[in-house]
């Protein structure tokens, strides 16, 4: 699993994840993801290139979102694939972490 980080305008950090966000993938990105969550305030997590999500991946997203919130910031999810979106919804994450279908909508949500 790959993780890449882009600084966008307005102090927004875009974290793009790519690959299988299963136990194996989540173990790889957990530390760098937590570091970003600790250091940044406005984070969009692009899941468009994530083709699989399991509970360990959800754990990483939830812990990250809690860290950001605790620091007074916000974390949103961008463009999850159909089945990945279904996993997020089934796990109740859609009620806890805002999910947006476009970068413009995610940017607007983080800017407000």
């Amino acid at each position: 699993m790959d993780i890449s980080v882009d600084d966008l305008a307005g102090g927004i950090t875009k974290v793009a994840l790519r690959g299988r966000f299963d136990t194996t993938g989540a173990v790889v990105v957990e530390l760098p993801f937590n570091k970003i969550a600790t250091e940044k305030q406005k984070i969009m997590v692009d899941l468009s290139a994530v083709n699989f999500l399991a509970s360990y991946g959800i754990r990483v997203l939830l812990v990250g979102a809690k860290i950001v919130k605790n620091n007074g910031g916000n974390l949103v999810i961008l463009c999850p694939d159909n089945n990945v979106a279904k996993v997020l919804k089934t796990a109740g994450m859609d009620a806890l972490i805002p999910i947006h279908q476009s970068e413009a909508a995610a940017t607007a949500a983080l800017a407000s």
Partner: protein
């Protein structure tokens, strides 16, 4: 490529090692690629990852020679997955559903794996026999589950090798 029979099965034995989950994922993908829809393949991968990860992480004491066997069998529009292990007794069908969190601050980390299995599998049965846990998961193709015409299952027919 040999034309596939209607009923097919495959078996994989795993060690108590988190690294085995990668082998499990590759094996399931190989089995389901031409035998199920992408949605059923996703559901099987999700449920088996959750079930086997639970066994590897919580199924036995550190030095137990834990053995986990996974079987996949396709029968028409039905895919059955069986997981058998000699770890400590654990019946996931009796696990309580998680309580939905009202806020991010309150949300509990963890506890969603079994809930995902229940939601993505069409059926889940457990029995403890001869000192082993046996979990059976059933997956129905959406067309079968929804009672639509079997003709919509044409993609399940034997196919040639995919173009690489």
């Amino acid at each position: 490529m040999i034309a596939m029979a209607n009923n097919e099965a495959s078996r994989l034995v795993l060690r108590k090692d988190v690294a085995e989950l990668k082998r499990l994922a590759g094996w399931i993908e190989g089995f389901t690629r031409k035998r199920t829809s992408p949605d059923v393949s996703f559901a099987v991968q999700l449920c088996l990852e959750e079930a086997v990860a639970n066994i590897i992480m919580y199924g036995g004491a550190r030095d137990d020679p834990l053995e986990i066997a996974v079987e996949l069998e396709r029968n028409g529009g039905n895919l059955v997955a069986r997981i058998e292990d000699n770890g400590r007794q654990f019946d996931p069908t009796r696990a309580l559903p998680p309580v939905p969190a009202r806020s991010l601050e309150e949300a509990k980390v963890g506890d969603v794996g079994i809930h995902l299995m229940r939601s993505f599998a069409s059926g889940m049965d457990y029995e403890r026999r001869d000192g082993r846990n046996r979990l059976t998961l059933r997956f129905l193709e959406p067309a079968v589950r929804d009672g639509r015409n079997r003709l919509t299952l044409r993609f399940l027919e034997p196919a040639g090798e995919p173009a690489e």
